[in-house]
Subunit: 194 residues, 2 copies
Amino acid sequence: MRRPVSLAHASRLVNHGPTVLVSSAHGERRNVMAAAWSMPVEFTPPRIAVVLDKSTFTRELVLASGGFALNLPCRALADLCFTVGSVSGTEADKFTRYGIERFEGSTGLPLVEGCVAWLECRLISEPHAQEAYDTFFGEVVAAQADDRVFANGRWSFRDDNAELHTLHHLGAGVFAVPSQTVQGRVIAPLPDPA
Amino acid sequence: MRRPVSLAHASRLVNHGPTVLVSSAHGERRNVMAAAWSMPVEFTPPRIAVVLDKSTFTRELVLASGGFALNLPCRALADLCFTVGSVSGTEADKFTRYGIERFEGSTGLPLVEGCVAWLECRLISEPHAQEAYDTFFGEVVAAQADDRVFANGRWSFRDDNAELHTLHHLGAGVFAVPSQTVQGRVIAPLPDPA
């Protein structure tokens, strides 16, 4: 079930480097594309960066509307993720073309059903970073997650929710899935040689 | 075994969002810290972005030297990764304190033994992005990877190299490990309603 995520925990949704679907809309036009290149840049206020190539229709909609959403697809959506990353939205409305179910976020953005987390962002205008590095900064203004896999501010990847694990694009449609976790321990320093 | 990676393939090393160790040096001073927040921004020339907080010793060394390296730790290094992300290098040399084995990269940077990939970067000075978003852009000038897990420009995460899988920090020392992969397929569009 979808639950709101505290903005203080928003960065944790993307801390582990998942591939995302970027959704956007302006007037009657809308789009969704896959993006492997995004990261948090600040905890408070929660801010993220995402790379939007100059060739993308998404970039045009984001610049026109001043907002975008990151939707986190899961294993069950691997085909959809690869597909919307392989075709351009300038040709046809991908939501209609592929029968992608959506719901409206609190900012009015179209969000993708079946994803496991959603971050709605206000674009922070940085023309130089956009032009030189295709890097778009945004402030997260609303976040949600599927509580079967993200609850109490933490991801929980388990065997019984394997279809809800996030996707991490390796290339050519092959996605790594974080199906195991490991707990790191703090190592004791070596004895001081002095 | 360590093998050079073509610069054309450098972005593939970090495309799936691994947590990295950032190593740096200036004069006699050196450091290594963990960073979950990095991403590629350009294929050619290969460029990446990484977030270096204002409180870090690494930031000081990177600004002074104009370079840094991203080392990709693997499952076998989960404790080391969590440890160097939990203590500051201003207190003591972490390489010495934790007995971290290193080798010298082609740019002279200290690289961490036991990691599975290494990207040596030249800092691209962007004072505004550095100040406003702690975001440092770099151009990859040399890359290497362990050919047991990355070969022919592709990661290969298998059961028989599980200890070499990359780490993806979820928080509090818990790392997701991309121990499975899934192949996405392109979906056929719905029939045109017209």
